[in-house]
Amino acid sequence: MENESGALSRVAGLFSARGYNIESLTVAPTEDPTLSRLTLVTRGSDEVIEQITKQLNKLVDVVKLLDLTEHRHIEREMMMVKLKVQDGEQRAEVVRMTEIFRGHIIDVSNTTYVVELTGDSPKLDAFIDAVRGFEVVEVVRSGVMGIARGDVALRL
């Protein structure tokens, strides 16, 4: 969509005004600074998704729209988790879990670790499950980004 103030609130406003739900939403400028790219995850019957697609296309700020679920595609989300680690044993366990999930420890203090993890949303959920035994201080998730596989592309 156009990288203009107000464009994002048009999209968000459309969802609330028409009673559609937003499960996640990420947005950032693209390599073309006049455009920004937004990935939005929502759920609904085929008819609802069709209406959402049409209503979004109707927004003057929306330049192009692609329903990724109609294509083979990749979804990724990033997460940072801050965990309390009391002793050596706990530290070792977090390091082990992080390795299993192919994450990184990106911050260390006397009492905490911050683990960074990228993957599809179920993988991130699974990590949270796996570290239930620890005190989870904070979780930050980016929301889902998506891209189609192969030749399909969302570009002008």
Binding site: M1, E2, G6, S9, R10, G13, A17, E47, E50, Q51, K54, Q55, N57, K58, V60, D61, V62, V63, L156
Partner: protein, 571 residues
């Protein structure tokens, strides 16, 4: 984007005025205030753009709607920031619901104060976002001309609608070179014009295969200037046709093929024909719930063709079989061509049977009313008005029972003459809309049909009408009730008339006179015709006719909310 070669340095306010001139927008409706004073000063110093001063910003927007609906040209409004903008919001929402092409300019506090809770600051772009086709905040005087060009372009193309342009005061004082773009292209906005030829062929096949066809057409025919093509197609097919409230005048009401309006207060024959149709041809209509009734029971036997310029209107409420995205007029023309070129013709035998059935429904005479009553029947007033104006007046209506009776009893043979608020149903619309309409058509008869409740919502505009010498004929059907509310309470709340009685009414005759107009009170059925005749003779005066009507009259037929189209309450 092409640029003009000649350039001069102007202030934002001067650029604003020049842009309007370039757009051919020589008439604007507005109300001044602090943040638009530079603009008003620039307007003062020229004579190409005429400004109509209303008495309330809501009136400005409805007047611009009347102008737009009666001419097909975009309405233009100018109001100040803060309360000026918020007062305009009801009108903007109204224009949005009825797809009225319009550009509303709102003043804004200076750029440096935005976000500071400055004097008369509101977030106009935020407040209007859900009820505009698009809106803009101008942040640099260099963008002003292009933004105005875009605003008119977006408002008038595709599915029309209101566009708001919010202009901070400092922008109107800043200077820059002026050049008005001749044309504009927006990468994110490309409305479809021509329909897909394959779809048109499919539609024609389906249309010609029908045994019990029905044409259901709406406001899109009026907005798309397609009444002529619609009439040609309908005559060519000899199919029955109904219009929505917004589509009236799209097909001549006096024609045999016209079954009247459909929907909640539509005719028996129109609703029955919808219910029994095997092929439904929907053109520029949006399957509103006032039309469909209970969606589950809507047109149970029909395969549906739908022509609409807005893809989001198609299969929104009712799943259709052959969608065609495009402007009605070119699509209808393509259909006519396709039919004429092909061999297939409508099934005459089936059609004769279908018409016979329809004539039986018609014989029910669903709009009958008591013609012997000692009280003035509102239907009688409207029938008389229709006869005396030869069905050729511009009729602007308020909202309520009187609106429905006008739709039923004033047969429109031409488009753009029926001006009312359908989607939002805004009481107060009628009088200001009549002002905009009369200004656009100074020599035509313009009538405002209203109720004693509705008229009081924008009554201050009687003053505007005096200032500009607008000889509007106000037909007030005064039943001392919010009649439409009373009717629902009678039918569905066992006659508990909570807050629907209009007590402490003003003397409308004196009120009209106080505003400098002519007032009449009509209390006897026998006086109706004479009064209207007399009023119509006063070509240069606004005449307020206060008809004291039967309080207990209801609008029939009625499809109760949640019922199917064939489940009507009849008299």
């Amino acid at each position: 984007m092409q640029q003009e070669t000649k350039t001069v340095e102007l202030t934002g306010a001067e650029i604003f005025v020049r842009c309007l001139q370039e757009e051919g927008a020589d008439l604007i409706f507005g109300y001044p205030g602090g943040s638009v004073l530079h603009i008003y000063d620039a307007l003062y110093r020229q004579d190409k753009v005429k400004h109509i001063l209303v008495r309330h910003e809501q009136g400005a927007v409805h007047a611009a709607e009347g102008f737009a609906k009666s001419t097909g040209k975009p309405g233009v409004v100018l109001v100040t920031s803060g309360p000026g903008a918020t007062n305009a919001v009801t009108g903007i929402a109204d224009a949005y619901m009825d797809s009225v092409p319009m550009v509303v300019f709102t003043g804004q506090v200076p750029t440096s104060l935005i976000g500071n809770d400055a004097f008369q600051e509101v977030d106009t772009v935020g407040i209007t976002r859900p009820c505009v086709k698009h809106n803009f905040l101008v942040k640099d005087v260099k963008d002003l001309a292009t933004t105005i060009k875009k605003a008119f372009y977006v408002a008038t193309t595709g599915r029309p609608g209101p566009v708001v342009v919010d202009i901070p005061k400092d922008i109107t004082a800043a200077r820059c070179e002026f050049s008005y773009p001749k044309s504009i292209k927006m990468r994110s906005y490309n409305p479809t014009v021509k329909g897909h030829s394959g779809q048109i062929r499919k539609a024609v096949d389906l249309i010609l295969s029908a045994k019990q066809p029905m044409l259901y057409t709406g406001g899109g025919v009026i907005l798309g200037n397609a009444a002529k093509s619609l009439t040609e197609l309908t005559r060519l097919l000899n199919y029955p046709i109904t219009n929505t409230l917004m589509g009236l005048g799209g097909y001549p009401a006096s024609d045999r093929q016209f079954l009247g309006m459909l929907g909640m207060h539509g005719t028996y024959e129109a609703n029955m024909a919808m219910h029994h149709a095997d092929v439904l041809i929907a053109i520029g209509a949006r399957f509103d719930d006032r039309v469909t009734g209970n969606i589950e029971k809507f047109c149970p036997h029909a395969r549906i063709v739908h022509v609409d310029v807005d893809p989001a209107s198609i299969s929104k409420n009712v799943k259709v079989d052959v969608p065609i995205v495009g402007q009605v007029d070119p699509v209808l023309k393509a259909m006519i061509k396709e039919i004429k070129a092909g061999e297939a013709r409508p099934d005459q035998e089936a059609l004769a049977k279908w018409w016979k059935q329809i004539d039986e429904w018609r014989a029910m005479d669903c709009l009958k009313y008591d013609k012997t009553s000692e009280l003035i029947k509102p239907q009688h007033v409207l029938e008389t008005l229709w006869r005396l104006t030869k069905g050729d007046a511009f009729v602007c209506s308020d909202v309520g029972q009187h609106q429905m009776w006008t739709a039923q009893f004033y047969g429109f043979d031409k488009p753009n003459r029926w001006i009312n608020s359908g989607g939002l149903g805004t009481m107060g619309f009628g009088l200001p809309a009549a002002i905009g309409t009369q200004i656009a058509h100074p020599d035509e008869t313009v009538v405002c049909v209203t109720g004693e409740a509705s008229i009081q919502m924008c009554i201050q505009e009687l003053s505007t009408a005096l200032q500009y010498h607008l000889p509007i004929k106000v037909v007030a059907l005064n039943n001392r009730y919010m009649g439409m509310v009373r009717q629902w309470q009678e039918f569905f709340y066992q006659g508990r008339y909570a807050m629907s009685y209009m007590d402490a009414l003003p003397d409308f005759v004196q009120l009209a006179e106080a505003y400098g107009h002519v007032g009449m009170r009509i209390e006897q059925p026998g006086d109706v015709e004479g009064a209207i005749q007399e009023a119509l003779k006063m070509k240069d005066r606004l005449v307020f006719m206060d008809f004291v009507t039967d309080q207990s009259e209801n609008v029939y037929p009625m499809v109760p909310a949640g019922a199917g189209q064939n489940e009507m309450i009849l008299l």
